[in-house]
Subunit: 338 residues, 2 copies
Amino acid sequence: MPRITIKEIARRAGVSKGAVSYALNNQPGVSEATRARVLKVAEELEWVPNRAARQLSAARSETFGLVLARSAKTLSEEPFYMGFVGGVESVLSDKSYALALQVVPDLEAEMATYRKWAAERRVDGVIVVDLRVDDPRIPLLRKLELPAVLVGDPALSDGMTCIWTDGTTAMHAAVEHVAELGHQAIARVAGPPEHGHVWIRDQAFAAISRELELDVRVLHTDFSGEEGAAATRELMATEGRPTAIIYDNDLMAVAGLSVVNGLGLKSPDDVTLVAWDDSTLCRLTHPTLTAMSHNIVAYGAEVTHRLFDLLEGAGHESHLFSTPALVVRESSGPPPTS
Amino acid sequence: MPRITIKEIARRAGVSKGAVSYALNNQPGVSEATRARVLKVAEELEWVPNRAARQLSAARSETFGLVLARSAKTLSEEPFYMGFVGGVESVLSDKSYALALQVVPDLEAEMATYRKWAAERRVDGVIVVDLRVDDPRIPLLRKLELPAVLVGDPALSDGMTCIWTDGTTAMHAAVEHVAELGHQAIARVAGPPEHGHVWIRDQAFAAISRELELDVRVLHTDFSGEEGAAATRELMATEGRPTAIIYDNDLMAVAGLSVVNGLGLKSPDDVTLVAWDDSTLCRLTHPTLTAMSHNIVAYGAEVTHRLFDLLEGAGHESHLFSTPALVVRESSGPPPTS
DNA sequence: AATCCTTGGGAGAGCGGTTACCTAGAGACG
DNA sequence: CGTCTCTAGGTAACCGCTCTCCCAAGGATT
């Protein structure tokens, strides 16, 4: 069977191609009677617009791009990404936009993808995750004039549209929580410091611990379970070891808990553990993990809305999505008395 | 700056649009000298083909489709999907194909997406995951003439191209492992029975346990951590409780372990636990979990290769990807003696 | 009644490629 | 030397849709 095009609809409805286009796109230029007739014919023929054709003439692709510069392994372990993608999708499918998802090994390849997409006019805009300190993607996206929403703190976005969760306030809340439980020696197992949100938390952690006169320590990792475990092992082996550890993601917290258990110690009796992100994982461990919780699916959805706003002419603004909330669970307790 | 098109290249190289097209696509019809000149100009101008235009005239989209009919929550919890997508991507980016990823709530919506994609000529082919028993997507894809590779057992694929891991052999290996440790009362915490691979494992589990004269029990869940925990709780509460439990995914196994720990019991002393998929999660628990291991990223890559083969005219065949291998870890042990 | 607006809708030129068809020139051959 | 064949490369039709430019008809205005 031949494809159904607007030409065929035009023929059957007895109008011109142009009129059909106006009718189907809810644009002025046709009478209500004609519009109704055209829509009816289109419905009967089960017409679906050809994306390529529309894209070619309208110079819009109706596609947003998302590049993830992480290994497939990391992506599958980190619940963050899939949840985020799910949130993005939920908004996109409502507006029948598509998502171009690309998984690449590093930032260099990510930037190459943006160049390619911009040249091909492949996407109408992009969502940029894992914002870095002095992020090289920002000048590139500016140069390419590719509309973008950055997921990260306005302190790092250099005036481009961004949306962020308040890591500073959250970190304060986390530290205050363990401090109130009586902990004095607190460690932080953090992600790589070049990551923007890690950097923000580093600053906040330093500030609040100075303020509360705590004895703190920070270990940077690559976010993986392995390094989270290694960091925990190192912390637990030191003289005057910390009695509370705050992790930068769930995976490392779970790995840390496993190390603690493996050493014959118990949480919270021997050490209080706090995770970050609060995926289901935190409720599947024993003891369940206290965590900074935020709604990642909603985060993805919100970001996508902002990108639509941007395309509709909204200015470059920074939007606070939400402040993660502390969910206290079994892994929180007072420090050991000895 | 204006977009660079083949027209511009033609002007600069002093040839026609058509000649440029032939030259750039390595097709006969131009002399080597001309081809070289055109390629040089294209290079200088950093020309990139406009996808929409090519798609419109060549009727190829250079895009594969993947629909995931799961909630964003499930997707983020299950390490399988992101790993699989990563594998697909790795092959796609080599051939500069794109992935259209869509997340939908149910099978109905998934089929609607296929209809839309087929009508829009949006994708050149699709990858179908989570094959069901009597899967309604198979007749639909046939009708739509949408090239597809099914991820699932040939017993369910009705002659369409499929690629599968040998769940039957794997289940035999898993049961034999616990039987050899001396377990007699064995339970299986399974996914929803309408899922093809669950069904295959159900069959295999029944067969092998009959053969080895074991005392078995099967509980079906929705694959979630919550239901995995609930099933484990139920199993552990029964008279003559099982001394070994085989789970259908990692998430439920981790949840099950947490229930066991919560009851004050220990694995493997009180119960042997076996997970399925072997994501990093299995090495992050304490004790670490014995699991059926397969390489999900490679699986995604292999499936994608098959789809390319299919488009190049390969016949409908079923391909065995691999048989999951049992990785024995700390959660395996003999049954309690009492 | 003549003029001016307004508005519906036709015609057709793109968008940037691909490809069928045709022509001009070069070499082969009788 | 004339004809025949072969090939490089030009010409232009298309793919399906959008959007500008136009004209015609009807209503309002004077």
